[in-house]
Each structure stands twice: as structure tokens, then as C-alpha cells.
Amino acid sequence: MIEVRQLAKSFGEVQALAGVDFSVGEGEIFGLLGPNGAGKTTTISIIAGLLNADSGTVRVGGLDNRKDGRRVREMLGVVPQDIALYEELSGRENLHFWGGLYGLAGSRLREEADRVLELVGLSDRADDPVRQYSGGMKRRLNLSAGLIHRPKVILLDEPTLGIDPQARLSILDIIKDGVTGGMTVIYTTHYLEEAEKLCNRIAIIDHGKILAQGTLAELVKLAGEGNVVTVSGAFSRDEVSPLLKGVAVEYLENGSMRMTVPGQAEMSGALSRLFSAGISIEEISIQEPSLEGVFIKLTGKELRD
């Protein structure tokens, strides 16, 4: 549905994008994960036709977004990072404006506005001026304005920015419920848990480059991340070392050890060898591979707010 090829963009001396390359299939929720300034918003802006790339191409539904700009924009729904709403108008009036912009009119416009108001839980406040809404309510309305015309592709640029965790979860649920009927989504975020929870595939972007992309499992594998098993008990290093040949083991000061094993089979094998040898084990904790670990491994730094 979306093909982004070798996108490059500079703002003066600053290179925002340096050859971004990815594809998103129809109905897929694709996450662009990266810290602030990584190039996520620039990528979204180029796809939406708000910025021209210095080089590279974007095709949406087979159409070039520069040559067939208007037809591409008809397919898109954009939820910007900023709350782009008219505070003087009510929620419903805002939706009527944004829906009207995409050609909705009359009873269809009213029905679609009611539908998305229901979806984001703002039906009872629909006729209040937006300036009276809380931050979370504005975020939800901002999201609904991008969904009102049932776009084929929706670009969500950090739609949960600046709201409390509870409101964030609510937004994620709305996206899960609202993205139906084969809608394709590009979701940018710098929250790992959002990408993990929502996205089918994820691209990790930093300094304008895609460092890795794939499903969570593929990324973990790609980064060589494994399960981390921490074992504590009454054993010595000399006792267990011969049993764990080929396994990365770290012996901790409190007498326990931390093993990193790439997969389930390797983990089961290591633990059975310990049990078979009669090693006294008091506690085992298993930490599954996470996106955070992948991110740290790929970028050499933690994601920051």
C-alpha cells in the first residue's frame, strides 16, 4: 500500500532523512519507532505531501504522491502531532469541517461525525466548544478528525504525545477499534510499549536512517536478543560452568547467575542440565526479549522522552 524509497531530506546543514526505505502492506499497522529528532515527523510529512523530499519517492496505493498529490491525499487521513483543531468551534463542528474537506456532506457527514464521536467517547460533549475539553479529550477528537472520512491510509504522528498514561491507553484502544476494514496505518512513536502493543511491524529509525525493520520477533532475532534467565541458589561457579558451555553466563555478586539464551529450546536445555546435575536452585526468573533491548542494541542508547 505504501512504498517509501530512499527518502532524503535536509534542512540547511541538518540532514533529517538519509535514505529512508520501507514498505507497508494493506491493512498493516506499521510503527516508526525512534527518539525525538530521529526523522519520524519528517517522514510522515513527506508521505502526507506537506514536505517535498530532496530525493527518493513515495507511492501510496500505487500512485506517486508528488505527481498525483491530490488523489493520494484523498486516500490519506492525517493525525498530526499538534492538536490541530479549532478551539472556538464545538467538537461536532470541527468534525463537520474536517469531513467536509474530504468531500463528506449532508446526512453522510452527520452520520460519520456521530460514528467517530462515539468511537472516541465524546458523544456527550460533542456540542461543547473544544476549548473546554481536557488534553486527553482534545487528543481523542484530534484522532477522530483523521478517521471521519474512513481513509485507506492513516498517518498517526505521535498521537499520544503529552497525555497521561491512562488517556494514552484509551487512545491505543481507540486506534485498535477504529482501524478496521483494511485500513493501513503508519504510527510514529517514541514509546516502546505502544509500538509493541499496536504494531504488526516496526521500523527503528534514528538520525534519519532506518536501522532495522520487521516484526518484533524478527527484530529480536536480528539484534541477537535472547531470553535472559536469572538463577539463584546454593551453587558455585565451578559447579555450573562445565554444564553451561556455549551459553553466555554472567556471575553476579550476590551468588546468582544471569544466562542469555537465544531461544526457548536453548533455555530448556540449559535448565535441564542444571537440574539433572542436582544443582541446588532456589529461584529462576525469565525475562523475554524486549523491543527496548533491541533498540539499545541497535542504537547504543535508550529511548528518551
Partner: protein, 417 residues
């Protein structure tokens, strides 16, 4: 077209929900008109209020009575309010500035006049008033000349009458006949002046050849065109400012991300600005009619000129906003620009009171053509020919600035480099 109307409808609705800024911009021209108009004479039907004159009559004779009655006759009675007081009260009231002037007729005024001896009428003027005491001085002087002339003409009959009146007895028939006989030739001498004059005075306000007689001058009609221009400029400024504000809040980018052309977005903003300016302008015109009794002249000429003027104001603002990046920059630059343009165009200091050099410079300010055009329509009733150049300038400048402004704004909107 539908999308342009969608933007216009949305902007109009937003303005209606938050009309404070537009209302403030309407109050500025109205306040200016009111203050300047009142300072220069209110509704323009310049009237002089009753002139209060104190009169001290120390004579109580025929001549002093003639003077007093003369001031209470005809038009003078409408103008002058004579209050008779004694000398002490008169001085005290003048010290307290309670009257425009004090006239003091000395004792023996009548007898000295009849004896043809020099005599003075005292006049004390209120120093706090500029013109009213001068009017009293002029009237008193004229009355004194008339009194002197009358006594000169009737010198002989008056002398005879005085003898009879001071003889201590009633005059005989023969004496009365003699008196009348001596008076008759003098009356005959001035009969031509006493009878109805062959020459009468018909006054009217001067008009240029072929011009219709002018209506009563209304100072508000003179002041309000400048104020309207200031209002139009500020209202079109705050409405075009939406471009910058929407850019900062992100709504403009969101609109641009939709299936709408940059030209439609810009057209929508310009039409919105024009529509809001138009409604505000019509409100000012109606307030001018109802509140300030301004006869605006031909409605068609007025409408044509106002539409051109609004086009010009909106166009100038669209053009300027093509170069302005932020609200802060707009705050710093545009009010100064508007005020300078208005000063040069005669919105604050009328063109008529400007020096020759400034008057020449005024023609280079588009503001001049708006203001002068409005004055020609409302005050001079100049007709289409009289405002042809004005229409050409406002529509010309309006069209050029609108096109250039729209191109510039569209370029900025599409500046995706």
C-alpha cells in the same frame, strides 16, 4: 468552490464565537469619530449658544432704554440673553466668569448724548471665552453708532422737545405743531431708509457652478471616512492574521494535507477576510447613519467604492502576510504600517489641514483615495465622474495586492522544500 466556502463558513463561525477582536476594531473607528467629531462641533450644525450679557444701567434714560430694547429685538433676542444687574453684582459675576460680557451704561448717558457731548459705554469681556465677547463688542458698537446717528438726525426736534419737557407745563397745540413741523423734513430725509427696502438679502451656502446646493455640514461625515479606513485596515489585518495563527497551531498544515489545492486554501482565507471586513464595514456605515446622522450619498457609488476599498485593505494585508512568519512579527510591524499609511492618507489629520508637501505625499498613500472617495460621495455628492479616479486606484491596488498576496501565500503554503 465548495471547499472555499467551507473555509469561509468555518472562519465566519469562529469569528462569531469569538467576536472580541473584531468588536474592538470596530470600537476604535467609532470612538475616533465620536471624539474628533465632538471636539470639532458635534453634529456639525454649528450653533452659537445664548450669549449671556450683564447690563448695568446707571442712566435709566431714553437712550439707555433704546440700547437695551435694541438688544432684545428680533434675531438679537435669540442670540443674546440680557440680564440687568447693579454695578457691584455685575463686577462680581464677571469675576466669577458667569457671563460673556458686561455692558455698563454710565449715569447721564442720555443727557450727554442729547447735549452732543462725548460719552462712553463700558464693556468688560470674559477672558475665558474666545469669540462670544467679541460678538457682544461688535453688537454694542453697532448699537452705539445707530444711537449716535439718530440723535444727529433729530438734533433740532429733540432740543425743542427737551425745552418743552423741562418747562414744567404741558405744551400748547401751537408748540406741538411747531415741533412736528421741524421734525417732518428730517423724517422725509430718512424716509427712504425707514420704508421697506428695495434691496433684500437672500443668503445661501456657496456651491460650485452646476453643483447642487450643499446640505448642512456634518462634521461626523467629514471625520468618519478616515475612521472607517482605520477600522477596515485593522479588521482585515486581524482576519488575515489567521493564516499565521493557523500555521502556528497546525490547522493550516492539516488543511493542506487534505485534498485541496493551495490556491483554494488561500482563496478561502482571502474571501473569509473580505466577508468579515464587509460585514464590519456595513455595520460602521449603518452606525454612521443612525448614530451620527451621516447622509452617505448614492448607495451604489458608496457600495462600489467600499467594495474596492475593502478589496484593497484585504489585498494589502494578504500581501504583507505573505512575508510575515509569526504573530510576534505581525504585532511589531503591521500596526505601525497601518498607522503610517493612515497618517499619510489623511485618516488622522485631515488632508485639508495638511501642508502642501504632505498633501502631495498623501496621493501616494492608498488610504487617501479611500477617504477622499468617501468624502466626495457623502459630502460633495460628486457622482460617478467625481470618484472615477478613486475607484480606479482602490480597485487597481486591490486587484494587484490580492493577486500578489495570494501568489505569495500560496508559495509559502507550498514551500515544502
Amino acid at each position: 468552490m465548495n471547499k472555499i466556502l467551507l473555509i469561509v463558513r468555518k472562519d465566519m463561525r469562529r469569528r462569531m464565537r469569538n467576536p472580541v477582536s473584531v468588536v474592538c476594531m470596530l470600537l476604535i473607528p467609532l470612538g475616533l469619530t465620536l471624539v474628533v467629531g465632538l471636539v470639532f462641533g458635534g453634529r456639525g450644525e454649528v450653533t452659537i449658544s445664548h450669549i449671556k450679557v450683564l447690563l448695568v444701567d446707571n442712566d435709566k434714560g431714553v437712550a439707555s432704554n433704546f440700547l437695551k430694547q435694541g438688544m432684545k429685538q428680533g434675531k438679537l433676542a435669540e442670540l443674546i440673553d440680557i440680564v440687568e444687574v447693579d454695578s457691584v453684582a455685575g463686577r462680581s459675576l464677571m469675576d466669577a466668569a458667569k457671563a460673556s460680557a458686561l455692558i455698563e451704561i454710565p449715569k447721564g448717558f442720555t443727557s450727554r448724548l442729547l447735549d452732543r457731548k462725548p460719552v462712553e459705554i463700558g464693556l468688560v469681556k470674559n477672558p475665558q471665552e474666545a469669540y462670544l465677547p467679541l460678538i457682544v463688542e461688535e453688537i454694542t458698537g453697532t448699537m452705539a453708532v445707530m444711537l449716535d446717528g439718530t440723535t444727529r438726525v433729530f438734533e433740532k426736534p429733540i432740543a425743542d422737545a427737551r425745552k418743552m419737557l423741562t418747562a414744567g407745563r404741558w405744551p400748547t397745540g401751537g408748540e406741538m405743531s411747531g415741533l412736528l413741523a421741524s421734525a417732518r423734513p428730517r423724517i422725509a430725509l430718512i424716509k427712504g431708509y425707514l420704508a421697506d427696502s428695495l434691496v433684500s438679502l437672500k443668503s445661501q451656502t456657496a456651491s460650485a457652478p452646476g453643483e447642487k446646493p450643499k446640505e448642512k455640514f456634518n462634521i461626523f461625515a467629514f471625520v468618519m471616512p478616515g475612521s472607517i479606513l482605520i477600522g477596515l485596515l485593522f479588521i482585515s489585518e486581524i482576519t488575515m492574521r489567521d493564516i499565521v495563527r493557523e500555521r502556528e497551531t497546525g490547522t493550516l498544515a492539516r488543511i493542506a494535507a487534505g485534498p485541496i489545492g493551495g490556491d483554494q486554501v488561500v482563496a478561502g482565507k482571502i474571501v473569509s477576510s473580505f466577508a468579515i471586513t464587509f460585514v464590519s464595514c456595513m455595520l460602521l456605515i449603518v452606525i454612521g447613519i443612525v448614530g451620527f446622522k451621516i447622509a452617505w450619498g448614492s448607495p451604489l457609488e458608496l457600495l462600489a467604492h467600499l467594495i474596492g476599498s475593502m478589496l484593497m485593505c484585504v489585498g494589502i494585508m494578504a500581501f504583507l502576510y505573505g512575508f510575515i512568519r509569526s504573530e510576534r512579527a505581525a504585532d511589531a510591524l503591521l500596526p505601525v504600517f497601518i498607522i503610517v499609511m493612515c497618517i499619510f492618507g489623511g485618516a488622522m489629520f485631515p488632508y485639508e489641514v495638511m501642508g502642501p508637501a504632505m498633501q502631495k505625499a498623501a496621493h501616494f498613500s492608498p488610504a487617501f483615495w479611500v477617504i477622499d472617495g468617501l468624502k466626495r460621495i457623502s459630502i460633495d455628492k460628486a457622482g460617478w465622474n467625481g470618484i472615477a479616479r478613486h475607484l480606479a486606484v482602490v480597485y487597481g491596488v486591490g486587484a494587484i495586492t490580492c493577486v500578489a498576496g495570494a501568489a505569495r501565500l500560496k508559495g509559502k503554503l507550498a514551500a515544502r522544500e
